[in-house]
Subunit: 202 residues, 2 copies
């Protein structure tokens, strides 16, 4: 690897870091070439070297968001059933400062994604995929007798993801009322309510 390549890679990394900081603080509404340049202490000209305009900047922002979400530290999900479902839900929530920044950026991305067909489709596919993962855990839990036999796995997956995404929003707007331990209690209450009918005659 030549030194020039190394400099280029390092600079790309700096740009991505600056985009992340701008998003975490100002959201997509505040994401401009000028704001990214200011966050790097660089000229706007330098940033335009990486992004032709706002559209490319947003696309890069969503790439970073997707990559960081995939690579984030998280609870290893147990193999199956309710413990797996619990781990999946907790892995979504803003339980750490990095998790708060990431969720703030995800929630902020909904505004742009709802108006851009390609971003909309990517987001819709993402939620389909998450619901499918939750659905599998729910089917396992039902088979293991952890959930009532009559539980509708697809509906419960939609309900569980709804509950978790809405809890993200409430925790972002009221961090003092929803500290990490309270978010976890709410998830455990939610799962206990779902499980309450297990073992009873249908």
């Amino acid at each position: 690897m030549t030194p020039a390549r190394t400099d280029h890679e390092a600079r790309r990394h700096d740009v991505s870091e600056a985009v992340w900081r701008v998003l975490a603080e100002h959201g997509f509404a505040g994401l401009t070439l000028r704001a990214v340049a200011a966050a790097m202490g660089a000229s706007t000209g330098l940033v335009t070297h990486y992004f032709a305009g706002k559209h490319e900047l947003i696309a890069h922002a969503l790439d970073i968001l997707e990559t960081r979400t995939r690579q984030r530290p998280r609870l290893k999900a147990p193999a199956s059933g309710l413990p797996a479902l619990r781990a999946h839900l907790l892995n979504i929530l803003p339980l750490t400062s990095e998790g708060v920044a990431m969720n703030r950026i995800w929630v902020g991305s909904w505004d742009v994604a709802l108006s851009d067909p390609a971003l909309f489709a990517a987001q819709a596919t993402r939620y389909d995929r998450i619901r499918a993962v939750l659905c599998t855990a729910i089917e396992d839990a039902r088979r293991l007798g952890e959930l009532p036999v009559e539980a509708d796995a697809q509906r419960l997956a939609a309900t569980a993801l709804s509950f978790t995404h809405g809890l993200v929003v409430q925790a972002l707007f009221a961090p003092d009322s929803f500290p990490p331990e309270h978010q976890i209690e709410l998830v455990d209450d939610f799962l206990a309510t779902l499980a309450a009918g297990a073992g009873r005659p249908a």
Copy 2:
């Protein structure tokens, strides 16, 4: 009322309508003086007569959103208990085309609200108030024997609002998978699950 006054009022109404259409189609990311002018078929200069800049435009957008939300047609909530809780939750969801537009704009507003202290405080207060309304219905339901005696009303209010807001997001991103009747089924399933323990010995 002088004719001049009437013209002014009519023009203000046109501007608000244009802001609403821009938001419903392009979100806060697409809300610019130029876009509002284009939606009115007017010059940007005319729009700057109403808004000094982006900040005033966003503030007006949120005022319209709040007013239209307050004035929207909705189910009259029954006096108390689970039926009241159900009506409150259904009144939040995107069950009509107007409800879809309104929710799309609310969800889009989270990006700007998370980065502006005054908007953040307004949104946080709004959610406190909604949780308090849900909490009252839940306490009534518990007293009426519709929910288990051990139900924690504050926690359930937070869970119910989480579920509903997250369902809004999923329905916006997957309208074909979440038509109005399916959203209503999910709410009814959710309420039935909460109620399932009622009447059992604690």
